[in-house]
Symmetry: C2
Subunit: 536 residues, 2 copies
């Protein structure tokens, strides 16, 4: 067989050749803009040539601090397809972490959305490797800034070469991208994505039984392009010629629902918080979202009650996935096998509340208290993964040895596996509640709580117990309209039939909000601090 | 990223873990047999251990001479997943060619269907490398044979180790399979498939926009497992957990139609001759084939008229593909892009009569008289291909240098490319008719002829012409019931509105049969010989 490398260059070239008429819809600071793949391809080549003129060379890191829009998508290909490394930076991190990340990655150029300027200005004196700042804006003039040297993205593109030749001679194991994941303590940890890994991950996204991304789809990635490559959707959409709808900065559930309706979106992807927000919107206003083929949900476990409402009340199918920054990210996706078609509605919902079976190319093992767990849907263990789109290390980081052992990534997620091979996230190893020698899943309790009609969100955390080592405490946010009527006793009555007695929380606290990470996950460390006072 | 190799072992392990209940339906000499993937996986491991006991080692070639059945599918994985090389041999080749192939490949063991025994016995004294013959049969006793040493497949499997460990440590570029393609003159040419190439090709088969093979499908490969790995369907089916229906030896159109109906087949694949046969059967007897999602057609160009009948009269969707032994084989597949949904029926048929756009991961160029052709659907040129599942050479064969040049495979097929990137096979370079400095496509004329209601098959070949260099002659097989009524003049009247005058055949000959190759393609070399007399 020929030794042709697996490179991102193939993706953009395929889009230009076979799908030049297909559309990219980009919501920007000045409204909706539309580009064909042909136009976008030319702009991307112009950008690549401009970056080269700025001194970007093979292997150099180029950082982006940006929302989901066409310019970010241009950077997604201009950078890796010219041999450099696309470093997407989470704009919701603290200035200290952003500064650490840019220096740790050794970013040479930063591409910055104009509304992110203040963040970068606040740390500019700490940045040791950046040689140029490029502002991504629709406006004709650059906004005032203390950054220097500074360039206007559109001017660079205008001066660029529309026929710039992308690299087809790179090693497929060369780095194409990188992303940092926040750690429980200390600085974020960097993960490098190779061309090979991203190409294989993208192929997996096109498989019928995973995400099935197709030319016939219209994809709206709500998940940020700085959050594990928007789960790979931008790559899949370009390669397969899928129309893309990029929601831009500061979108609301209303804006999302409108975009979905107007652009006839067929697939969308985001974290549970996003979908909870959309549900609220759907309950208030009427939309025609019948074009939706599915909503993909990942990042943290999707509550069963939410899935049920989407599917049964709004007739919007749900796919539940699993992955993390270290895994490109997709590894598992919920599925109903052909012989399960006759299951009851409730049984099917149970299946969708799990994170599904492993994608082709990957291997998993689940390590419990006594070696690999039984596939019985009950025994809990830590999920370990292996495969060509799983990272092998953290970038220049000693914490590599904690997560990567014997050729496996230990995810830190505790799961069960049912007889069909579906995993179900039970907890993070560090959030699992160890009570009297047994394990209690905070996630199971949270899902049960969030299925209560009066509860908007719920997080369950461990508190120290002299007698039992740890005991669960539930933190509950009630729906606005139910704040007066739901009582603690009612919630206990609701939980009792569903769990063994010793699983029930020792306390139920009503909060106004659950603290969250920059990517929408419950920040349990902060929550434990916050409630320390209240449970004394 | 982790450096885990792409190996066929992942496919069978995934089937065993995630799809143990799914079914393989195998039509054998003693009737229909059914196996779950769990049972099949165990049998496959037993076979692998048995072959090891017979002395098969990493890199050794093991030949199969067999129809499509469960045992052949066991060999498909037992051999490569233990590091050896699966060499599928075309049982329809001449004894001389089979003997050449076995010796050229240096097969160490041959697995033989009992009805193919006479073929192998006739050449046994010429075989220089074979150390053992294994007979695949349902019968309890071995048939009488002059082969030695000879083993009974089922006895080997019974004695084998059901927990034999497959190789997970092979280099992904190691050979997994091989297949010979017949040449116009001389001996067949061997192609080696690597694990990597086959894994990537199989992933492509699972993409929505190519073959979209899924767990929800039931696949019936009519195309023989000795013909370019049944176009990869057995690999895709195992990896994605698809139910398989293997039609076994000596099937008829009636048997196929019955299997499709009874097993609720959703996808099937075969050459045009097969589908012409099925059409005849559908015209005579009534079947419920509503489960069919599509018929995949390749090997040679599918006549537009046949596609029309399937789609419009029988409501069976058609997918038209392109590929060859050297390309694993799938490279192109017909497609209707999202913005073409509103085309008329006839325009959509025109699209389906083409071989479609290139699969992801591959590159093509089409070289005409003056460099790369325009994508205008008119300019003709030779198709060249490059990519990770395209061969880079013929095995130990000097003819490598004719087809493989500058890193590309020159296919010998002449195509046009339309504005959407769809290729249309116009001819083999050697069958193209060069008339007065212009090119006439024999395939275009054949398709037009086969759309005539009285014509069953038609082949057009070049005959030498003093004035024009070459001129076309049409060889036509009429449908049985029309043999008395269709005249030459009527056919000329039918063709005239469709072609320029100088494209019209100089002669139309009525034959009883068109000679075909062992894989169902028109054997134009033989045809030219046959008609030499008739056109004097």
């Amino acid at each position: 067989m020929m030794q042709t490398p697996l490179l991102l260059t193939q993706m953009i070239e395929r889009a230009e050749k076979y799908f030049p008429k297909k559309e990219i819809v980009s919501r920007t600071e000045s409204g909706i803009q539309r580009f064909t793949y042909k136009q976008w391809g030319e702009r991307t080549r112009r950008l690549a040539s401009a970056l080269e003129k700025l001194g970007v060379r093979e292997g150099d890191k180029v950082g982006t601090l940006a929302w989901n829009h066409h310019r970010h998508l241009e950077a997604y290909f201009a950078i890796p397809c010219s041999g450099a490394v696309l470093h997407t930076i989470n704009i919701r991190l603290s200035p200290q972490h952003v500064s650490y990340i840019v220096n740790n990655a050794e970013d040479k150029v930063l591409l910055i959305d104009s509304d992110v300027l203040p963040l970068v200005e606040s740390i500019k004196d700490e940045l040791t490797t950046v040689k140029a700042f490029v502002i991504m804006t629709d406006k004709e003039k650059l906004p005032e800034t203390t950054l220097t040297p500074v360039y206007h993205y559109e001017e660079l593109v205008a001066e660029g070469d529309p026929s710039f030749a992308f690299r087809t001679d790179l090693d497929e194991n060369a780095p194409a991208g990188m992303c940092y994941t926040s750690a429980t303590t200390g600085n974020p940890k960097g993960v490098i994505y190779s061309h090979r890994g991203t190409v294989l991950h993208t192929m997996a996204l096109g498989l019928v039984d995973t995400a099935g991304v197709s030319e016939k789809d219209t994809a709206l990635p709500v998940v940020p392009m700085f959050h594990v490559n928007a789960w790979g959707l931008p790559f899949a959409a370009v390669w397969f010629g899928t129309k893309q709808v990029l929601p831009g900065p500061y979108f609301t559930p209303k804006i999302l629902a409108e975009l979905m309706q107007e652009e006839k979106v067929t697939i969308s992807a985001g974290v549970p918080t996003i979908w909870l927000g959309l549900l609220k919107e759907l309950e208030q206003n009427k939309y025609d979202l019948s074009s939706l083929r599915y909503l993909l949900c990942g990042g943290s476990a999707a509550p069963r009650g939410m899935i049920k409402t989407f599917e049964e009340k709004y007739n919007i199918p749900f796919r539940h996935g699993y992955g993390m920054t270290e895994t490109s990210p997709l590894t598992n996706i919920s599925t109903t096998k052909s012989y399960q078609e006759n299951l009851s509605k409730e049984e099917k919902l149970d299946l969708k509340a799990k994170q599904g079976i492993l994608a082709p190319c990957l291997e998993m093992k689940v390590i419990g208290k006594e070696g690999e767990v039984k596939w019985d849907g009950k025994e809990m263990g830590e999920l370990a993964l292996r495969g060509p789109w799983i990272a092998s290390e953290y970038f220049k980081d000693e914490r590599t040895k904690d997560a990567f052992r014997d050729g496996w990534l230990y995810t830190g997620d505790v799961v069960t596996v049912d007889e069909e091979g579906n995993i179900k996230i039970v907890d993070r190893t560090k959030d699992l509640i160890k009570s009297g020698g047994e394990w209690i899943s905070s996630v199971d309790l949270e899902n049960a709580l969030m299925a209560h009609e009066g509860i908007f969100e719920a997080a369950v955390v461990a508190v120290p117990s002299e007698q039992w080592q740890e005991r669960p405490v539930a933190c509950v946010v009630l729906k606005d309209e139910m704040k007066e009527s739901v009582t603690k006793e009612e919630i206990y009555e609701f939980l009792k039939p569903q769990f063994a007695k010793w699983w029930l929380p020792d306390e139920i606290l009503f909060l106004n909000e659950i603290p969250k990470t920059s990517v929408g996950k419950f920040l349990k460390r902060a929550l434990r601090e916050e409630i320390k006072e209240k449970i004394k």
